[in-house]
């Protein structure tokens, strides 16, 4: 056994391996840099699609669109996930980092691959957008860059498993891993499945770009999406883990029932990969039976998992508050929550926008027939900005507000800005997503430089409402980008030039330190009695979390309504069969 160097966190009392800490920091920093690149691209994109501004010329619009997709959906989220994997497999279970040199080699591969990809895109050698559908052709080094990045990420997913196994063998933890690590394990397994699909598609495509083999366009679309969509499911599993983590850190959220929450993670692992079939619903290569079976996720078992987490996460928060006697009535646990703690507000915004907007629209537009009125319109990016940005990225930002003091041992810089940042980011994104969704229902295409068709052979005039919606989209996007820039500024200032954390005295508020750290949500000695009382049969079906039950009821109502409205709209178009 190598001599791992540990420090003990003075706040949480957890042991932190110096090597793991270094890897967490390095990956998190590169994630933030990628976010910055992606956000700069985002500003240029919304200012181009706002037809009145129309900033970029056509070639640069498509180029920057590719940069935005790769920087955000791949580099930002996967680098951050690597940090989460290191964190969950060492800090959370008191274990050491196994083979740290391999970890650094993997980091090197990922950074090298990412730089290669960025260089190809910015140099105009890879104008194929994020999806790079064959036979659109990029420079071979573009594909090679992605392969290097994926190999690096694959190594980290294996190191995660090694940490769990070695930690167990060395007695770092007894029994089961915590739920947050369990969720990270689900993310890890999904990541392995995803990255293997990445290899299965990018290695042949690399060879194809060298003229060495043939790649069928439809097969490419099928296998590529097993990378492209599944990589977003790594995010989702990581995000749900972070929900449980932030709930615990900010207001002492408890786990309602380990069996239910863990089973839901198992459902993700088993069924979520099939979600990639959503992209092929109106493709010629697959029959309806294939589409129905796969997109129903084998009867929507992954949707079920999300609906379960959508209940257990807020219910755990509600119960945590009630156990500590915070708030009365149906929603007192919410009204008396620490809304000024950016970790908490990020958590709630992430849960609400992910669930109400991203989840509901995702299931509706991922329905075989409804996809006919959605495919490749702006409704699609409308959906996934609600999930990946307001959901995943928001949760990652919230986690960062706690990682800065706990891992980097710094205070959060620009504290007032940090307290507002989640509202700016999620608020702007919500406006943008709604505008995209409505514009998309007019048939406005995604990935399109000029919907005024000023140089096209025929005229096409969208409803004037579309111009207004695209302007609103751009403004929402600019607000969200401002939130992203604020986050980057806060993170960079805190990590590199931040004030050292210093002594934390429980119960005394500090500028730059989230409330969950200065006021740890501790339970009263009679917590078991309170718990039993809240679970008493006399409370009836409302049980220990009546507020959450009311909220999920509203959620289900919105879901049912939106879903059937879409069927109704579909029924108005031509007969197609």
């Amino acid at each position: 056994m190598s001599a791992a160097v540990f420090r003990t966190c003075p706040i949480t009392g957890r042991r932190i391996d110096a090597q793991a800490e270094g890897l967490i920091k390095a990956n998190a920093v590169v994630a933030v840099v990628s976010l910055l690149v992606g956000a700069i691209a985002a500003v240029m994109l919304v200012l181009t699609r706002w037809q009145a501004v129309h900033l970029l010329p056509a070639d640069w619009f498509y180029r920057i669109l590719g940069v935005h997709g790769m920087s955000m959906l791949i580099f930002f989220v996967i680098f951050f996930e690597m940090a989460v994997l290191y964190f969950a497999s060492t800090v959370l279970i008191n274990a050491r980092q196994v083979a740290p040199k391999t970890g650094w080699a993997a980091f090197g591969l990922m950074v090298g691959g990412a730089l290669l990809v960025e260089a190809m895109m910015w140099g105009g050698k890879a104008d194929v957008l994020f999806t790079s559908y064959v036979p659109l052709r990029a420079h071979p080094l573009y594909y090679l860059g992605i392969i290097l990045f994926a190999v690096g990420a694959l190594i980290v997913t294996i190191l995660f498993l090694a940490n769990l196994v070695v930690g167990k063998r060395e007695g770092a933890y007894q029994g089961s891993v915590p739920l947050v690590t369990y969720g990270a394990l689900a993310a890890d397994i999904i990541a392995i499945i995803t990255l293997l699909h990445g290899a299965a598609i990018y290695i042949p495509t690399f060879l194809w770009s060298l003229g060495l083999m043939h790649v069928d366009p439809q097969v490419y679309r099928m296998v590529w999406w097993a990378l492209g969509h599944s990589s977003q499911q790594i995010n989702m599993a990581a995000m749900v883990s972070i929900w449980y983590m932030l709930g615990a850190l900010t207001i002492g959220a408890v786990v309602l029932n380990e069996k239910i929450s863990r089973s839901a993670f198992v459902l993700y692992v088993l069924f979520i990969s099939m979600a990639s079939a959503h992209h092929l619903l109106v493709d010629p290569g697959m029959g309806s039976a294939w589409k129905v079976v796969n997109t129903s996720y084998f009867m929507y078992m992954a949707v079920l998992a999300s609906m379960i987490h959508g209940f257990t996460v807020p219910a755990g928060m509600e119960l945590g508050q009630r156990l500590r006697g915070v708030g009365t009535g149906l929603f007192g646990w919410l009204t008396r929550a620490p809304w000024g703690d950016p970790g908490f507000s990020s958590l709630v915004l992430s849960v609400v926008v992910f669930g109400f907007v991203g989840g509901i629209t995702g299931v509706a537009i991922g329905t075989e027939q409804i996809n006919i009125i959605v495919h490749n319109t702006l409704r699609v990016p409308g959906h996934f900005h609600a999930t990946v940005v307001s959901g995943t990225a928001m949760a990652f930002m919230g986690a960062t507000y706690y990682l800065i003091p706990l891992v980097f041992r710094r205070r959060v810089a620009f504290w007032t800005l940090a307290r507002w940042q989640p509202y700016i980011f999620a608020g702007g994104m919500f406006v943008m997503v709604m505008a995209m969704t409505f514009a998309g229902s007019f048939g406005v295409p995604r990935r399109h430089w000029d919907i005024s068709f000023s140089q096209a052979p025929f005229d096409l005039q969208f409803s004037p409402a579309v111009d207004v919606l695209l302007a609103i989209m751009a403004m929402g996007g600019l607000v969200a980008a401002t939130g992203a820039f604020a986050f980057v500024a806060i993170a960079v200032k805190s990590v590199f030039f931040g004030e050292p954390l210093g002594e934390v005295t429980p119960g005394r508020a500090m500028v730059g330190v989230p409330q969950g750290i200065t006021h740890p949500p501790a339970h009263a000695p009679d917590v078991d009695a309170r718990n039993a009382e809240l679970h008493a049969a006399s409370r009836g079906i409302w049980g220990p979390a009546p507020g959450t039950l009311a909220l999920v009821g509203i959620f289900l109502l919105a879901f049912v309504l939106y879903y059937f409205v879409n069927w109704k709209v579909l029924s108005f178009v031509w007969k197609i069969g």
């Binding site: 659109l136 380990e258 010629p284 006919i372 490749n376 049980g543 069969g577």
Partner: protein
């Protein structure tokens, strides 16, 4: 202090496979039931609904498909708009529409209330068939023939937007479909 409650950051003690509270079980049950509804709607719409992406699907050589489109144009051409042939196939005909960077060939003139089998395919790269203002969308993949039985339910002058990125001229790629009320012979008017 050991208590019955713990957070997601703490390892659960002992066996965590314990019965859930009835509220939680009820929600899982409701969610499961709703997922079954989501599942059932798709097969049900195949049986009772009017819009399904089933179609006739087969692999095809892109050049052969383009040649078939040219034959189709020669057989039923009724006019021309900006150099692009306007083709009016008889009711029930097999219709061929080729997508290529950066145009849709040919312009179709269809009759309202009549079913056509519209074959979509691409000559070069992926394209996206998006019928405006109807908002009906299909993926067009080179090497694959997607034969969709469509029945126009309203007359009008429609556009086909390409909504899959196909290259630098992607936003120029706009096609045209005319739907007329009654059977009509001869030239259709030019686009507005």
């Amino acid at each position: 202090m050991h208590t019955d409650t713990h957070t997601g950051l703490d390892a659960p003690r002992g066996i965590w496979w314990k019965p859930a509270h009835k509220t939680e079980k009820m929600w899982v049950g409701i969610a499961f039931g709703w997922c079954m509804v989501l599942f059932a709607m798709m097969p049900l719409w195949h049986l009772r609904g009017g819009q399904n992406p089933s179609g006739i699907r087969r692999k095809v050589d892109p050049q052969a498909f383009y040649a078939r489109t040219q034959e189709f144009i020669k057989e039923y051409q009724v006019g021309e708009d900006r150099g692009m042939p306007i083709v009016a196939p008889p009711p029930g005909a097999e219709v061929y529409l080729t997508a290529m960077a950066f145009q849709w060939t040919p312009i179709l003139q269809l009759q309202k209330g009549v079913q056509y089998t519209i074959h979509l395919s691409a000559l070069d790269v992926n394209h996206g068939f998006s019928l405006y203002p109807l908002n009906v969308n299909f993926q067009v993949v080179p090497g694959y023939d997607y034969g969709l039985r469509m029945t126009p339910t309203e007359a009008g002058d429609f556009r086909i937007i390409c909504n899959e990125f196909c290259g630098i001229g992607h936003h120029l790629m706009l096609g045209r479909v005319i739907v007329v009320d009654a059977p009509q012979v001869g030239l259709a008017g030019g686009a507005r």
